[in-house]
Amino acid sequence: MSLAVGFDGGESARHALRAAIALARDLEESLLIVCGVAPAGGMGEEYDVTAEAIVEELAPAVNEAVMLARDAGVEAEAILVDADPVGALETVMEERKPRMLVVGYGSSGRIRAALFGAVAPKLVDRAHVPVLVVP
């Protein structure tokens, strides 16, 4: 079994990551660090170029996150999914069957969350494992 944590390199995601690492260590579980890398704005022109650019931009932060977990003695793996953050966690939930999902509360930004909905509540709607929301 494992825990899956949503990660986008932002401040809130880092809080979630630290909480997930601590939890994984205490529960002796492995950690899946999940990133959605699909360009926002959907299909259309230059989609793949944008996706490549996003992956390159995220790669250092993701590698750093994996290292952070391993330094804490947790077995960790990064998974990048061609989907939005919610879709990425859903995909990992279906395919890797983690026992819990961990996300930051503010990863979408407060204004955006107020106007268009945040990752955490959408995830709670769709998940069939417990979701831990880190403030």
């Binding site: 986008d8 390199g9 932002g10 995601a13 959605g36 890398v37 699909a38 360009p39 926002a40 704005g41 959907g42 299909m43 259309g44 022109e45 230059e46 989609y47 793949d48 170029v49 944008t50 996706a51 490549e52 650019a53 996003i54 992956v55 390159e56 931009e57 995220l58 790669a59 932060a61 993701v62 590698n63 994996v66 290292m67 960790a76 793996e77 990064a78 998974i79 990048l80 999914v81 061609d82 989907a83 939005d84 879709g87 990425a88 859903e90 995909t91 279906e94 990863s107 930004g109 955006r112 106007l115 268009f116």
Partner: protein, 502 residues
């Protein structure tokens, strides 16, 4: 996992995120052209220019569009990764042509944003009965700038309308237009039209009926109305049934588009006639609203709402590709790497997106202040750029496929002849329009800048600006300029079209 985490990680596919059904595919085809906005923007000027030949001009403009769409389809198939003129023309004809194509496509995408916001604001105000505010240019300009900033921010934080909602909005838009056309045609046929209304005749679908030089300007605006349609044929494997769905969806969305454009043009002629439009030519931004209220009375807001939604939604679908083209050019070192900076958290090219907005706002404010027929002038200038990069794409298709063209009849007709004829038609239109606009007496408002028609001045200005940036970039000598033309890899093409066995 081993110690390989220092490298760029593999990306895994999501949960069928891209599978779309038939209705959605039709909707995407319509969405790319934003029919309600296009009609509101160009129908008035077209009728003023060619009178009863307007439906014919609408039909005729579609011909080059159809031929160029074939080029987009076949180029997209062998090079889908980047998917635009910039990349294809660079591959087929080298960096010089590619850069200018990329410049033209990025500029059209950027510069149309102001017009979209302007129309969106005006029609929203009209819908709420604020007719005085809607005709106050300063109020509209301020609100349009606010709208551009807002829509850009939405693009930067990566929020999108759900696909389902977009489909509903697109279909509602077309339904509103068809309702308007049917009611207006009925009223015209039963003698409830304005005194200037005309009775329908078969002559209307003959684009040369007016027989004047104004036809070139009308055809150019017609090309603008169909601009974006090529993406309807570019839906390859993302659909749920990739064998039949994309083809049928493209045909249906095309028929709907043609019927709507021609139908609304006929309806306008039958209801109010060319004289009404000529009398109101000064209010070209709102002429469509006046006609809608004439036809539907208290229900006119349906058409106003359709136009407003179409225009506002299009700002988003326009800003995203324009910023991605800039990103793509930056990543191939055709423009400074600064423009390729990405917001990983929001998954958007944040820097190029904000620059799209800045340039769009500056352009919109300058043109609205300087020009007396701002909408017409900037759309005609944009149409010149569109005709330019479309013809470049048509040529690039034939050149990129040149080794395969003579291996089958189908390849020759669809990949070679069609796109080249389309390119020639558009280039011819471009030349005619340039000659036409060199004489300001022929221009829409009879205005002259430096002895030339304003749209031509704008077009030349943009083209020269592109040349300056290109030469600067060439002098800095980035890796992009070392790219050399190539040809299609035959392995990517089916045997029936002259390719090798897969």
């Amino acid at each position: 996992m081993g110690d390989d985490t220092r490298t760029t990680p593999e990306v895994q596919p999501g949960l069928q995120a891209n599978a779309i059904g038939f209705v959605d595919a039709v909707s995407i085809g319509l969405n790319a052209t934003s029919p309600a906005y296009s009609l509101a923007a160009v129908l008035g000027p077209i009728v003023v220019l060619v009178g009863v030949a307007a439906p014919g001009a609408m039909l005729a403009s579609f011909v080059p569009m159809l031929l160029i769409a074939s080029a987009f389809y076949y180029l997209n198939r062998v090079d889908p990764d980047c998917g635009t003129t910039f990349s294809w023309v660079t591959r087929a004809m080298g960096p010089w042509c590619g850069w200018m194509g990329g410049w033209a496509i990025a500029m059209t995408g950027v510069l149309v944003v102001g017009s979209l916001a302007d129309v969106g604001v005006r029609f929203t105000l009209l819908m709420f009965g604020q007719d005085n505010l809607a005709s106050n240019d300063t109020v509209v300009m301020v609100l349009a700038v606010v709208l551009i900033v807002l829509m850009t921010w939405i693009c930067v934080i990566g929020t999108e309308l759900s696909g389902r909602l977009q489909t509903v909005l697109n279909i509602a838009q077309v339904v509103a237009l068809i309702v308007f056309a049917v009611v207006a045609i009925y009223q015209g046929a039963t003698g409830q039209g304005l005194p200037g209304a005309v009775s329908p005749s078969l002559e209307w679908i003959n684009p040369f009926a007016a027989g004047t030089a104004a036809l070139t300007s009308a055809l150019l605006l017609g090309v603008f109305a169909y601009w974006g349609w090529e993406s309807a044929v570019n839906l390859n494997e993302e659909t749920t049934d990739s064998a039949g769905t994309p083809g049928r969806a493209a045909i249906l969305s095309t028929l709907i588009l043609l019927a709507t454009y021609v139908g609304v043009a006929v309806a306008v002629l039958m209801l109010v006639g060319p004289t009404f439009l000529a009398d109101n030519a000064g209010d070209e931004e709102m002429v469509f609203a006046l006609i809608a209220q004439q036809a539907l009375g208290g229900w006119g807001w349906i058409v106003l709402l359709a136009v407003a939604i179409s225009a506002v939604a299009s700002t988003q679908t326009t800003i995203i590709p324009a910023s991605r083209t800039a990103l793509s050019m930056a990543r191939r070192a055709a423009i400074p790497a600064y423009f390729g900076r990405i917001s990983a958290r929001h998954r958007t090219p944040a820097v190029s997106t904000w620059w799209v907005a800045i340039i769009a706002i500056v352009w919109y404010v300058v043109v609205s202040t300087v020009s007396e027929n701002a909408l017409f002038d900037s759309l005609t200038a944009l149409s010149l750029l569109i005709a330019f990069y479309y013809s470049l794409t048509g040529l690039a298709c034939a050149i990129y496929y040149r080794r395969l063209l003579f291996k089958s009849v189908k390849a020759f007709v669809l990949i070679g002849l069609g796109p080249v004829v389309g390119a020639i038609l558009l280039f011819w239109l471009l030349v005619l329009s340039v000659i036409e606009m060199s004489n300001p007496e022929n221009s829409y408002g009879g205005v002259s800048w430096f002895g030339l028609g304003p749209p031509l001045v704008i077009g030349i200005f943009l083209f020269v600006l592109g040349l300056v940036f290109m030469v600067t970039s060439r002098i800095v000598d980035t890796a992009f300029w070392k790219e050399r033309p190539s040809v299609v890899d035959p392995d990517l093409v089916p045997v029936s079209e002259g390719g090798d066995e897969r």
